[in-house]
């Protein structure tokens, strides 16, 4: 394997790692809690921006790089800072938007937040350098690495971060919190009758999901060294939801598989030969393909590849013994109602 294709693989793996972070996070707020957060990528952006401005030094007039903060913090702290910022944003948005969970209302409010935020960021250079965006962000181990092999340097960082986040997600999946979140999603009125504070549960899920998005954003800005407001995140948003849906909503492992598949599609499309005179067709083809993939998944297998895992299972032998249970004859099956 020559170094060029090796580099390509390393880069694809880093992209997978970032998308997987996004997917696992979205699996918590959308997969488990059922919140259709269409502004998810705004959380990613906030994570990127705050991660960046925490790691950057003071504003650099010579380079025309204006921004707030600029505390020259080490990158692990900056990544954490990005996650916290996104989590806080999720909290604010949740307090406003999650009162009525009808998907349409939620989608429009979240988009509204995104749009306002995006416009403010683009038009206020002193925040995050406006349209130009942040650049010159100090990359982890960047000073000592060869830029040509940087993907290999960054890959372990992504692996460790993703690994930690996956462990947390697994812990949540199997916990009382996870059960409660899913119960609220299944029937919020019943959950309320069972003593659950529904709003609090939903907001906490949203905050966690957004924090994951923030980490993904921070990883992005540290990998690339720069970040600016792209016009639209529709493509990325579709990709994220597709990843969660393909893998199976409410399933951490499924979210990882889904991310792998979607990343594969998105990267693989590069290999379609460019048509002379219309070099930008690849981007359009990618968009169309992804849209079709999402629709296909929703049509053929809306529950995804993996079913939602039951958080708790009983180990028959031990527990039955402990209780000295003799199995009762099963209830007669009768017709419903």
């Amino acid at each position: 394997m020559n170094s060029a294709s090796g580099l390509w693989i390393a880069n694809a793996l880093v992209n997978f790692g970032v998308l997987a972070t996004i997917s696992v996070g979205l699996n918590i707020s959308f997969g488990m809690a059922g919140i259709l957060d269409l502004s998810y990528f705004f959380s990613v952006a906030i994570g990127a921006y705050f991660g960046g401005v925490l790691a950057l030094g003071g504003t650099n007039a010579a380079l025309d790089l204006n921004h707030i903060l600029g505390l020259s913090l080490p990158w692990p702290i900056a990544i954490l800072g990005g996650a916290v910022a996104s989590g806080l944003l999720g909290l604010l948005v949740g307090l406003v938007a999650l009162r009525r969970l009808r998907s349409d209302y939620l989608a429009i409010v979240l988009f509204a937040v995104w749009s306002i935020g995006y416009d403010i960021i683009s038009n206020t250079p002193s925040l995050f350098n406006g349209i130009t965006g942040l650049f010159n962000v100090p990359q982890p181990f960047g000073a000592t690495s060869n830029p040509l092999t940087y993907p290999w340097v960054f890959l372990p960082i992504v692996a460790v971060v993703l690994g930690l986040l996956v462990l947390v997600a697994y812990a949540l999946e199997r916990s009382g919190f996870g059960r409660t979140v899913r119960s609220v999603r299944d029937d919020s009125d019943l959950a309320e009758a069972m003593g659950k504070a529904v709003m609090s549960v939903r907001i906490r899920s949203m905050v966690v999901g957004c924090a994951y998005a923030g980490v993904a954003g921070a990883l992005t800005i540290f990998y690339v060294g720069a970040y600016n407001p792209s016009a639209w995140f529709i493509f990325e948003t579709i990709a994220a939801f597709a990843a969660v849906l393909i893998g199976g909503r409410g399933n951490v492992f499924g979210a990882l598989i889904g991310a792998f598949i979607i990343n594969g599609i998105a990267s693989g499309v590069q290999f379609i030969p460019t048509i002379a005179g219309r070099l930008d067709l690849t981007a359009d083809f990618r968009e169309a393909l992804l849209a079709l993939v999402l629709m296909l998944v929703l049509y053929i297998r809306p529950h995804g590849v993996f079913r939602e895992r039951l958080g708790t299972r009983t180990r028959d032998e031990t527990t039955a013994d402990e209780l000295s249970i003799e199995s009762q004859p099963p209830l007669p099956i009768e017709s419903v109602q």
Partner: protein, 259 residues
């Protein structure tokens, strides 16, 4: 218990009123619950569902007061009332359909731990508590007859099994008062016996049972006292025998052929 003074009523409703868009569904409703098992009956449209909504907290009263176990709960949110020990079931069985039968109970269990941070950093402690919770839940499932279905998703149960799950969830909450909303509706006669058995067990273990029912035979078999609601107010309190002799009650039910 002191034989001279009675224990204070666990539930007191005073002057409760609620209107929907011009229709007065509940009007100056008042009653007390002091017995172990009390029934609430009344013809369709009497306001029973509204009353249940007001008691459980899904509806907020326009006027009046509700006191539960000495606490004023009139404007309290539903989940807080539930945490105080007032549990309800639903007329059409509801369940957490993607969760297993066991998980349905774990969620309902009063020691369910929802903490987010705790879930991440206190894993060993949580696992221990979970085991206790699982043991308790399995026992309840066994008592109710759903043990074999414990790992099945609740959405896959039959109608009668869902009804039993409702009851199991109520049992595990160890509530002070449970409001059963038509627990025998749509349940076949064989199962009605089992439902009654469970309700009796709950009452015997100290829970006050409030039973809203259409099936008057069940009410007669089970209830120490029966409240009759019509046109949004309480029109009579007593035994079924008394009610049958009561002209007003009979008139309220006239035409429904239920009495």
């Amino acid at each position: 218990m002191n034989s001279v003074s009675e224990a204070p009523p666990i539930l007191e409703v005073m002057g409760l009123s609620k209107a929907f868009g011009g229709v007065q569904a509940v009007h100056d409703c008042r009653f007390e619950i002091t017995q172990r098992v009390t029934g609430i009956i009344g013809p369709n449209g009497a306001g029973k569902s509204t009353l249940i909504g007001l008691l459980s907290g899904t509806l907020l009263a326009d006027a009046g007061r509700i006191c539960f176990g000495g606490n004023e709960i009139t404007r309290m949110a539903p989940h807080r009332r539930s945490q105080l020990g007032l549990t309800r079931t639903f007329q059409i069985s509801r369940q957490f359909h993607t969760l297993s039968v066991l998980e349905n109970l774990l969620v309902a269990s009063p020691d369910a731990d929802d903490r987010l941070i705790g879930a991440i950093v206190l894993r060993r402690q949580m696992k221990r508590r979970d085991r206790e919770s699982v043991k308790r839940s399995l026992q309840v499932l066994e008592d109710v007859g759903l043990y074999a279905k414990r790992d099945d998703r609740a959405g896959e149960l039959s109608g009668g099994q869902m009804r039993l799950l409702e009851i199991a969830r109520a049992i595990i909450r160890q509530p002070k008062l449970v409001l059963f909303d038509e627990p025998t509706a749509g349940v076949n006669p064989v199962l009605i016996e089992r439902v009654e058995e469970q309700l009796r067990n709950m009452a015997e273990s100290g829970t006050t049972v409030l039973l809203v029912e259409h099936n008057l035979k069940v009410v007669e078999r089970m209830c120490d006292s029966v409240i009759v609601v019509a046109n949004g107010s309480v029109i009579a309190v007593g035994s079924m025998e008394e009610h049958r002799a009561n002209d007003e009650v009979v008139k309220a039910y006239l035409g429904t052929g239920e009495a």
